[in-house]
Assembly symmetry: C2
Homo-oligomer: 478 residues x 2
């Protein structure tokens, strides 16, 4: 695509002035409309060194309302970032509803190695309604040399051109082929590239502004026509109910409980130091029925750890900032960095549990979430994380017993809310949601463990045992 481009197109000054005078208010009005409709937008700029990215980004953003966009420049050195999966930084920077994030290079910095993850990231955002526009600024090798010489000759900017930049310039032809291949692989209908001949700044400015205007208009029109999202018929579940087949009579006598608690406690204390030393991130999440004993199990678990190396992350309803973003955004912000351990008390599975059952998201949204969550967890394990997922299971009679117990004990009354009783009414609906979740998201890299929790002692030991085995295994594999 790049090699065939006409790089000599230019626009005379008068015609430019004319067109820009029309485009500027049009763009401003469209941005206000995008804000009013709550459509988020990502605009990404890639291209050659000295292609004029800075100037062209400025020409665009100066027309935007500054309250509603942010620019994220490329950061090559990483520091804390490299302790996280590749996409971690970019997830933090995705726009809120109605806002614009402008990226310089962004996730294309990592090049062709990451095409799968790039595709998954862009598709996930696009599916949630985010508009994605990508511009590649193209100049010839000759033009690049001319510009680099000019930057080098200016005392204020000479520091920008080091030997590294000249070496890249020498490899122009090879880099051109690489860019070509990357553009082809990542040019999708949900996140298309626009190739911009950037020799003439006026031409490039107009092309970018017009492309943005047209894309805003199409996005607004699509929102207007409001065709309900198509739901692909889901493949049938592999089996009836996992939950109903569970043996709920499992229990432990007190002395066995004490002995095992002590044994696994010691093991976990040691394993935590060793995963810290080996810089393995560990992520343990708990879902389960109200009063199934998540809190107690978590306390028995983290008691063994050094508090400087773990964090318990309780998940409840999102705040207004979180509600304005993609549902995975708040979890990406909380994932543990290398060597740390995070315990999630509830998690991103809220999407396919409470949000599904209570109708807080559409059917298309929660159906899509299984794939999105599997990809999310795969990205985490690929970057080295150990993931453990526990479903704490009690039966309906046991829950009733515990609710009544809580209500009658003054020291526990604060734990009960009317919401607990409301949720209980929907037991059957939650049961099928849990079944489907367990089947669709039990992957090899992040399996579920169903914990029979009618006996608190049995449940706590099963959690400790499972975590011990997984940390042990991870250490042996590194």
């Amino acid at each position: 695509m790049l090699e065939k481009m006409d790089l000599d197109i230019s626009v005379p000054k008068d015609s430019y002035k004319n067109r820009i005078a029309k485009l500027t208010p049009r763009l401003a009005a469209l941005q206000r409309e995008m804000f009013a409709k709550g459509i988020p937008c990502i605009i990404l700029f890639d291209g050659w060194d000295a292609a004029g990215k800075g100037k062209l980004i400025n020409e665009l953003i100066l027309r935007f309302d500054p309250r509603r966009f942010r620019v994220f420049p490329m950061v090559e050195d990483a520091g804390t970032d490299m302790k996280h999966p590749f996409l971690w930084r970019y997830w933090q920077q995705i726009p809120q509803k109605g806002r614009i994030s402008v990226f310089e290079k962004g996730w294309y910095l990592c090049g062709a190695d990451r095409v799968d993850e790039i595709d998954s990231f862009e598709k996930t955002l696009s599916d949630s309604g985010c508009l994605i526009l990508k511009f590649f600024l193209h100049i010839s090798k000759k033009e690049q040399r001319k510009r680099m010489e000019a930057i080098d000759a200016d005392p204020a900017t000479t520091w920008r051109i080091r030997s590294h930049e000249w070496k890249k310039h020498d490899r122009y032809d090879k880099l051109l082929k690489e860019a070509e291949a990357l553009l082809e692989k990542t040019d999708t209908n949900f996140a298309p590239w626009t190739l911009v001949a950037a020799t003439d700044q006026r031409y490039a400015t107009l092309l970018i502004m017009e492309t943005v205007c047209n894309a805003f208009e199409r996005a607004l029109a699509a929102r207007e026509s409001a065709v309900p999202e198509a739901i692909s018929p889901p493949p049938p579940l592999k089996q009836g109910s996992i939950l109903r087949d569970i043996d709920m009579d499992k229990a432990l006598d007190e002395s066995t409980y004490d002995k095992r608690l002590k044994y696994f406690g010691g093991r976990l204390h040691e394993l935590h130091f060793r995963t810290y030393e080996k810089r393995i991130p560990v992520l343990i999440l708990f879902e389960g029925w109200d009063a199934a004993g998540k809190g107690g199990a978590i306390r028995r678990l983290v008691r063994q750890f050094d508090p400087r190396g773990y964090e318990v992350i309780p998940v409840s309803a999102p705040n207004d900032d979180e509600r304005g973003h993609h549902y995975l955004w708040r979890f990406w912000r909380k994932i543990p960095c290398a060597g740390r351990l995070a315990v999630f008390d509830r998690s991103w599975y809220g999407r396919v549990l409470v949000e599904r059952v209570e109708g807080f998201c559409t059917e298309a949204e929660w159906r899509r979430a299984y794939r999105e969550i599997n990809e999310f967890e795969e990205q985490l394990t690929r970057s080295g994380a150990v993931i453990l997922k526990f479903w704490m299971h009690i039966d309906s009679e046991e829950q009733l017993r515990r609710f009544k117990d809580r209500e009658s004990d003054p020291a526990k009354q604060w734990k009960m809310t009317s919401e607990d009783w409301r949720n209980r009414q929907k037991w059957a609906e939650y049961e099928s949601a849990v079944d489907e979740m367990l089947i669709r998201t039990s992957t090899r890299c992040a399996p579920w463990t169903v914990v029979e929790a009618n006996s608190k002692e049995y449940a706590r030991i099963k959690v400790l045992e499972t975590v011990t085995a997984a940390m042990d295994k991870a250490l042996k594999e590194r």
Copy 2:
């Protein structure tokens, strides 16, 4: 203080069990009460290596509701942090109303060099209602050696003791004197130290839990008694009105405007690259009457800059997360790191302008804010930042003309809200607030520039000229 302590106190196991069984529910109930009353709390742990910080922090936090606290371990390496002022990281981590932040070492990592800033930080937080508790865990040199040998002998933890730790152990006596001095200097009534003999873990656990319980009770009782905060009578203003003495007839003809715009544009473009190269952070803030032309002046300014090196930060009403924190918290999160330039469209001066006039904070709060803001800006400049503050000034007739113009122009109508008319009603009150702000916060390190803005051209050039001079001066001084 440390040398005189009895380090041999211990508590027998039975008595410990008894006392802990009473303290645990008491602490949990008090924490719920602190949450209900919205009182934030900081608990800081400092002390010797191997004094048992990890274990003791865990004993405390296991009794807390995990939804309402966070632990911030010490981070010695810094990465991005070091590009910011010393306190920047800790400001990010202050607790929201009703929450607890537990710090390991925290701002005491920097030692005695920063006593002034530590004092200002703790006083500012305490004044805003945050409870601050600091524990120093003390063990003898002999005990430290014994514990380090044990850690070293355990294969799981041997990596924790390197030659660095042994060297510190050898310097125990010198470090003891330094710790002693630091504790004395920072033991204030608003952020007192509790010295903990940490030889016996049971004794230390009980002492810490009891101290926290008692402090929670006192904080709750103080909130209950609700004595209105005493307002120290402010020193009289140095003069009548700054605003009324301003020459509002200053203007510029079009050709001079064009010429100067071009000249300063070129200079600023160059200066921005040079401050970036020298890693000087630049912070430019704009306050002013509605319709005084802040937006236009900002656009003329940032047009000169490379978008990868600046950010415009629009400030409006805080969101719910921001409202839950100290008012300076959201600004600390936005200050530019080394080499970057940030333009604030409105700022922390909202505290002494809109919040004062509209009664969003108490008189004691906005009166205190002058000192807090001066200290904040001093900390920024001390870490190398250049700060410029512009008050964009138009007179009341000019504002009326511009309001009417906006209302009659369809392309500008979206800019006007009923709030603009409401604010205009309070012109006189705002005028005295502005006067007082200009007098009390014009410091040598961060002076105000009042911009006569009845003529947009004059105003824009004055801004460009002032910024040019300040960046030029900063570069010459480094």
